[in-house]
């Protein structure tokens, strides 16, 4: 995103808030999941997956449409909905701190495993006795 860090801290863009608001509902997240798994679906097919009055369901579809997360097109007498994943890129930054946390931990895990191999013969550079294999792992 080409927004300066200060601008991000001051206020998130309205579009981003709209996307979070749209994603806040479990029903709407389920609609997105269905579209992701099954591809474009008619309103009837989607609605049949939820036990709620049709006007309420239409309202959920409207929120998703306005957030740009789904698009609608006519196919004869049916209205087909499809997932529009591009806006999701805008909320991806949200999980960045967690992704960094896990990357750090995974790298700490790799170092721990590599280091505790020292002396057990698991790594070629541990000694000058030539190439080693996994079988050496069993040695104390």
């Amino acid at each position: 995103m080409d927004v300066t860090p200060t601008a991000v801290r001051q206020s998130s863009s309205p579009a981003e808030d709209e996307i979070f608001a749209a994603l806040a509902s479990p029903v709407r997240r389920e609609v997105l999941r269905l579209l992701r798994e099954r591809g474009p679906q008619s309103v009837q097919d989607l609605a049949s997956c939820f036990s709620m009055a049709r006007p309420s369901f239409s309202e959920h579809l409207r929120v998703l449409r306005e957030a740009g997360l789904v698009s609608e097109r006519r196919d004869g007498r049916r209205r087909l909905y499809r997932l529009e994943p591009v806006p999701l890129v805008r909320v991806r930054d949200w999980l960045d701190p967690y992704e960094r946390f896990w990357r750090d931990r995974l790298s700490a895990l790799r170092h721990l495993l590599d280091d505790t191999d020292t002396g057990t013969g698991g790594r070629p550079h541990d000694s000058g006795s030539g190439p080693r294999t996994d079988q050496d792992e069993e040695k104390p």
């Binding site: 806040a24 997932l83 994943p85 991806r92 949200w94 999980l95 967690y98 931990r105 995974l106 721990l112």
Partner: protein, 148 residues
Amino acid sequence: MTDLDDPTVLHLDEYLAHPPARVWQALTDPGLLAQWFMPGDFRLSVGHRYTMRGTAMPGTGFSGTVQAEVLAFEPERMLRLAWRDADPGSPSAADWTITWTLEPEGRGTRLFLTHEGFDPGNEMQRRARSIMDGGWRHLMTNSLAAVL
């Protein structure tokens, strides 16, 4: 991550040049966990609850202290944990599921991590709050400057 991924789920994976048995040990031995992850009284038993103290994550509201529970496991293949923020008033309102999956790959292991349960509604509120907080702080600083 691809564009089609669920934005409320985080997926990561890492290749480790060690057999699944060793990776599994690092995931389940409290002594080893304390070295690369966080100290805590982990025990490999479904339903076991324990606390881990890590560092807070500024900007997310996460307090860093985790109330964890073992949900399920298959030795050397899968370990699933529930993670809640140990601070009940924490703005992160964390209620997550963490799943480790191990797959042999060549002479090593591919370790997959799935972190699920991020709540966009909560993030929306947190953002609204932090924008308001920022506004208040700004206002306070200005009024203080005017008084002093």
